[in-house]
Subunit: 377 residues, 2 copies
């Protein structure tokens, strides 16, 4: 009975999120309307000579960008409408979907509006050619950490005996790292809690057919710090690779598991079941980093490797009524050791996260790449 | 009559801000209490071994930091209590001050709490030895821009004829740049709208007596992205220089003017009155960047120089019901030209702003240093 209720709640949560995605175009049009109204203010009449070209750009390019993003999001959603091949927790009943489209009064919460826009930036990061500037240096550091402990895999030979190293990637977002690990011969499993990420990772991994078939305009929702007038309106084509077309090395494979990392992988059945755990911009996303470290240690077999890459931007810090444990990096390392994770090395590496490379404002993290090995005892 | 009411409103605004400063310790103690409560949660009992040292640090060092900051802020406030030498708009009546201290129920708005904490970071940036890493490269770029057009001033000789170049610095914050310009022989005037900045710039410029006499702990209010456990609790001593002790070059001087930049300097009486206008992290702070550029052009004499350093982080962008004009950099340059500011050169320079240099998260701006000359016609 409890699990039935839990399922109903889960389904309601998922449908709320899918509906916020469906509402994107109307939300973004309200944003354009706000900009338009400001620019039509009487106090600006005397600056017409300076502002006319600017206004025209907001009008024509803004409208086109909203349409491009709307098309991308709608196409993703439609993939899950009454789709019996989709995972059960990601199916959208067609009657609900049609009702949403007819209801013009609905407004997603401010938080959901932000999250939909954040999906578009993550699509840029994970699945565009331009996003390589962010993800490649990070992934290279992670692959190197894995190889230092597990050795290298020849992608031509792979693991023909079926013994591909099992790598777990909690908080895998839109799935690119999981896919890249599989391409290198690992048996990679992604884990994710957010329905936004589950929905769009499933779409990008399973439903794309052609390189560059879709467009997103991830930078159009913010008007600050643009160098050229066209920068905010530019479109990025995705995907830069079609996962369905990839020839994985023998033995390699990839899978996705939905759910909270600590709840799913803290289970005794997962104890020692993994050769590697990769936490990439992840350990600061939970309520309790210590519990996450304990869970990483639980998953790893003796001699297995933990590779971490990221800052310590604790996501729950500002939520006054939520649990949040915030350790410094040196405290994280001490906590990891206490769970039997022997720190082999750490290295600081600068990295951006969903930050427009052309912008005058960069969110740059002095990330720590940690390589640790699970002790035998 | 209208101006009397305006004065009463201004006075109320100032006292609201002074009161928020007075309330700092109680606000910060509530923050410590929140952290303490989280760390005492029953779910963390099993991690006592890992968390005990962490808890003790929050307790002892947290309490000490709040006291240090509280002392700094109180000392500044007390300087203005019934002080007849202070500017009229910055005087605090002693009866109000005493009433605030007795009222333990008062809570500053979330916005004001943030602004008080931001003052502490600005004190670090402008008036500490450690803050040099942020301000020196920026100031050097600005001095170079000024000298390219106005020539150099020998600090030993200064401007003995009394003709020191008049440099206006709108949005001068805590006044360090104004002071540094005066040290180089300019007749520098700072302009500032925020009472927070007016209060604390007046304190730092006029009321400090000894290098390092005061302490601030600017990083203690955020728990994310600390590398070492002690980083967030560290104290910085200020000032690194006592402005009152400075021997300015002959002819040099400094002054401060309170008020909105466009309202004060858009006035015909200011037309052509300045040899230079320096906008440092400023042009994006107003409601209308175009009006600011017009005002810069109005102030400058023909042949005078505008030096800009900063990003385009438009402060009013997110306020749905406020006017906000947001141009890209190339549009800013076109607008400046349209007001007779001939762009001599632009150069991109990376700079941080009140960002802990030890943190794993850096707010980095790809700033533009613009040097422009006011046309004769």
């Amino acid at each position: 009975m409890a699990s039935v209720r839990a399922d109903a709640e889960e389904s309601a949560t998922f449908l709320k999120i899918a509906r916020a995605v469906e509402a994107y175009e109307r939300d973004a049009e309200r944003l354009l309307a706000r900009w338009r109204k400001r620019l039509e203010d009487a106090s600006l009449t005397r600056y017409a000579r300076v502002l006319d070209a600017h206004r025209a750009r907001v009008e024509t390019r803004g409208t086109a960008c909203v349409r491009t993003n709307g098309e991308f999001l709608r196409k993703a959603l439609e993939t899950f409408v009454d789709n019996e091949l989709a995972p059960e927790h990601l199916r959208i009943p067609s009657d609900a979907f049609e009702a949403w489209r007819r209801d013009e009064t609905f407004r997603a919460s401010a938080d959901d509006v932000d999250k939909v826009r954040y999906v578009l930036k993550n699509v840029w990061r994970d699945w565009s050619e331009e996003g390589k500037c962010e993800r490649t240096p990070v992934y290279e550091a992670i692959f190197q950490g894995l190889e230092e402990v597990l050795g290298t895999i020849d992608p031509e030979i792979g693991n023909p005996d079926g013994e591909a190293p099992r790598v777990l990637v909690p908080g895998c977002g839109l799935g690119r790292l999981v896919y890249e690990l599989a391409k290198r011969g690992y048996d990679a499993q992604g884990n994710e809690f957010s329905y936004y990420m589950l929905l769009f990772s499933s779409f990008m991994l399973n439903a794309t057919r052609e390189v560059g078939e879709l467009g997103v305009c991830p930078w159009m929702h913010g008007r600050s710090n643009h160098r050229a007038a066209d920068d905010m309106w530019r479109e990025t084509r995705v995907p830069d690779e079609v996962p369905g077309d990839a020839r994985l090395p023998p033995g390699a494979c990839m899978s996705m598991a939905a759910g909270d990392f600590a709840a799913v992988y803290g289970d005794p059945r997962e104890s020692g079941a993994w050769d590697a755990v990769v936490t990439c911009f992840f350990i600061d996303t939970g309520h309790n980093v210590v519990e996450y470290l304990e869970c990483v240690a639980n998953c790893l077999r003796p001699g297995g490797v933990w590779v971490n890459f990221g800052p310590l931007l604790y996501h729950w810090e500002e939520y006054a009524h939520e649990m949040s444990v915030e350790l410094s990096l040196d405290e994280v390392l001490i906590a990891a050791e206490s769970f039997g994770l022997e720190i082999r090395r750490t290295r600081t590496a600068s990295a951006d996260y969903t930050s427009d490379p052309r912008s005058m404002h960069r969110t740059t993290y002095a990330c720590e790449c940690i390589v640790a090995v699970k002790r035998a005892t």
